[in-house]
Symmetry: C2
Subunit: 244 residues, 2 copies
């Protein structure tokens, strides 16, 4: 019936107050909080306690603490960095494997492609085709441009997520890419033939999106991601799995 009464911890109260001010918009992105010695006086607490509160807010991604004169606690735009970090911890603590991440990515990219096929505008398609051109340039230069190709591939996927108009997809995809990236250097082998294959995938995918062909877009996106994953799993088997 009753809940635990208020936390007596001073620093938590401070975290709460500043967080609330940021979330209500009383503090806006880019605003600079008063200097520590002023805040300490405003809250009537010691500087150590205040700093614990600021560190928590920093870790939550709500502020960024800058050094030197002109520095201070700057209010940040809330973004997906913390979600990525937490997902990263789950992976590194072996609660989540590469296979789990790969499967999830296949599903999410499929959904994203399906929504994009319904919602894309002509302008969206043009931007995607611009990226496709860049990808083609990489492919022509062969496997030396592997990393550049992967970067463009990522941009295309992120662009599709944006087209859905739902920022959760952008956030989730961002987190997945952040965390799968660490495996690329170790496990991803892509020779010219694979580059060519993947470039073709992307062409087909964007064509399907342009045509509004929902099911095809989903299917191609999933196949494309599956291909990436298979390259990695192959290498993973060959080299055994090291600690990340």
């Amino acid at each position: 019936m009753f809940q635990t009464a208020k936390q007596t911890k001073v620093f938590q109260d401070v975290v709460e107050q500043i967080q609330q001010a940021i979330l209500d918009g009383r503090l806006k992105t880019g605003d600079i909080l008063p200097a520590e010695r002023e805040l300490k006086a405003m809250f009537n607490i010691s500087r150590g306690t205040l700093r614990e509160a600021l560190r928590v807010l920093e870790q939550k991604g709500l502020i960024e603490i800058k050094l030197g004169i002109g520095g201070g606690s700057v209010v940040k735009a809330v973004d997906t960095e913390q979600i990525s970090e937490s997902l990263g911890l789950l992976i590194r603590s072996q609660k989540v494997s590469l296979n789990h991440l790969a499967e999830f990515r296949e599903d999410v990219e499929g959904i994203v492609a399906a929504h994009a096929a319904v919602r894309s505008t002509q302008g969206d398609i043009q931007k995607l085709k611009l990226l496709l051109d860049q990808a083609q340039t990489c492919v022509k230069q062969g496997s030396s441009q592997r990393n550049a190709f992967i970067e463009i591939d990522k941009q295309i996927h992120m662009r599709l997520a944006d087209i859905t108009g739902n920022p959760i997809y952008t956030s989730v995809l961002h987190s997945i890419h952040d965390n799968i990236h660490r495996y690329y250097d170790k496990f991803l082998s892509m020779e010219n033939r694979e580059l060519q294959e993947n470039y073709q995938d992307l062409c087909d995918l964007i064509q399907a999106v342009e045509n509004g062909n929902v099911d095809l877009a989903r299917k191609i996106a999933q196949r494309h991601v599956k291909r990436f994953n298979q390259y990695m799993k192959k290498r993973e088997r060959e080299e055994k799995v090291p600690k990340v």
Copy 2:
């Protein structure tokens, strides 16, 4: 070409070292770190600096700091709490709306149901049917048991996520539920008829999963979640949207 050289901040180094020890298993869940006055000596730093580091680790979800004798910094099992919190911040900072969350949930629940239809064992189905029985009891008692029904509904969905065998689905669904929950009290209206409808959904869903009917399972799951969302949107329109 070069990256920023090492951070000189002492507390970050401490965070790094303890985090690393936890992630590679040198510190296990339930282990208690030495007392602050010992740690301070081990790292050869001041207590204030150490405490900033511990606060960061606490916010990351890696340790829990307990008060009093027998207390201390206890290593926690990494879980999805931080992901939920970060998603919550995104929502509360109006980067993400209820509609975005609702759409994402429909998609994810669809995928989960589809995987479950392929992977469920007889034992899984039995457990699901046990939950169904409880749901039926609630429905029979009418809308007074609305909250109990919602709780069981949630358990069924979480159970399905577990059946996929991919902890990412469990984590993601957990985060969604944590964050959509705050809307229920405000927006979710469910009379007897709606309870009945939703109970039937769940029956059909579990039947489809048992039969291994992938597409049907996905479709029913999506329809079921969509229904929930529509109840909420209806109320949201009626009552206007307040700050959460």
